[in-house]
């Protein structure tokens, strides 16, 4: 078996951190990845421009769900501006495994959902179109 299903990825998939909903959430965002049918909802409770609670719910492949679980841990306690600064590299560093172009959409679904929630629009370009 190669690096793709490293134990910590499987651990986050089997035991997702911060799984669930926040009833009083300030921001709720649902996104999906039509390619594989991965689904993700992120719930953020924001107080004084700081993320005081994070939850997520979703269905999909191990990469997409582990990415969301890891991101949720990273988000707790961050300011909104800090969260806005998260980028593709943040996610790839969290996952710590090589991600091919096809699975990138799975890996970045969490970031896409977060950014869409924070900005109200989708700002994440998950297509590998660089020349």
């Amino acid at each position: 078996m190669d690096d793709l299903y490293r134990e910590n990825i499987l651990d986050h998939y089997r035991h997702p951190r911060n799984y669930g909903e926040i009833e009083q959430a300030t921001i709720v965002q649902h996104e999906h990845n039509p390619l594989c049918g991965d689904q993700l909802s992120i719930y953020l409770l924001v107080e004084n421009e700081r993320i005081v609670d994070v939850k997520f719910k979703g269905k999909g492949c191990a990469i997409s769900q582990a990415s969301a679980s890891m991101l949720s841990e990273e988000l707790a306690g961050k300011s909104v501006d800090e969260a806005k600064a998260f980028d593709k590299q943040t996610i790839l560093d969290l996952l710590g495994i090589p991600i091919g172009p096809v699975r990138l959409k799975c890996a970045l679904l969490s970031l896409k959902t977060l950014k869409a929630g924070l900005y109200g629009v989708n700002l994440v370009d998950d297509d590998e179109d660089s020349l």
């Binding site: 078996m1 190669d2 793709l4 299903y5 499987l10 998939y13 089997r14 390619l35 594989c36 049918g37 991965d38 689904q39 269905k59 999909g60 492949c61 191990a62 990469i63 699975r103 799975c106």
Partner: protein
Amino acid sequence: MSVQTTLDVNAIREQFPLLDQSINGHRLAYLDSTATAQKPLAVLDAMDRYYRTINANVHRGVYQISEAATEAYEGTRRTIGRFIGAKSTKEIIFTRNATEAINLVAQSWGRANLQAGDRILLTVSEHHSNLVPWQLLAAQIGVELDFIELDAQGRLDLGNLDQLLTKRTKLVAMTHMSNVLGTINPVEQVIAAAKQVGALVLLDGAQSVPHLPINVQALGCDFLAFSGHKMCGPTGIGVLWARRELLEAMPPFMGGGDMIKRVGLRESSWNDLPWKFEAGTPAIAEAIGLGAAIDFLNELGMQAIHERERQLTHYAWDKLSAIDGLTIFGPPAAERGGLLSFTLAGVHAHDVAAILDTQGIAVRAGHHCTHPLHDIFGVPATVRASFYLYTLEEEIDRLAEALVLARDTFQL
């Protein structure tokens, strides 16, 4: 032409150079021929020879290599016509693929012959290529779409076919063989019923033409669409077959060079069949490659290929259904062609496919261009393993072992 009754799979494999490679340290097991088939040397050589020796535009030049290119291109039309039992080369229209062939029928025949309130009968298991073109037509001219549903085992439910075929039903468009369930549909029964109400029948042969002996006269259909690349030919070439009288009456699909007889500034007249539907420089090398692919398949015999796939499907069915947590979708092995779509409990299809890839096994994971069908199953994605004339039992053994590995990796 010699027709064999059994296939020498090892000898066949030597004709497919791509299969002889290792992926992630394992010999490649290519189990995704339903998406696209591998290409034998005969096809690679025919296309290479064309480009090296007779590359020239067709139907134009009066010089020798252009005539040779034209003869090779048009020769493929004869090969295809004989392969599917057409009556004339005028009935063989080259397209990019089955998708374009279906769009051609929708936009040319559909717009010219249908009006608001007319009905088109489809099945819920259609590939998007035989669904979306009709949705586009419905939005354009107001035709209505009806659907044959599936029974619990994934067979077409024909119990209410008489109600579905109304007086306003003008066309039945259905797949001959499902690209997800593998079901070989009882198209003869549907065609007979469609004729009772005067509806025409389009068969999506993308999966059946590469794998079964096909004769359009015996089937009694009116349109047949298929793709070259799923039958050992190159990408970029497909075929629409239709009854000549239908094609004669249909307006052109696309305009441009080669499809015209005479062009004025404000109006033009159309070329004869089949060129009326072939605007612009066609995929010449690809057509020649498809001809070589059909010669290759004929040499082995479509019946022998079909029987070999039947063996493989039974073999795979037994192997895979013995795996705990694995669910196969669709009818039993005896009713299907060479493919199995399945899920592994607790492991997403993409994760399954990624783990199989680490073992050098290539399968498809996703919705296989059938969103509605997957909605009916209630699963976002399935894994599909598909077989062709070069597939080995040993590859299916490796598939089964790797699936157990995937299940154990996730320990769910």
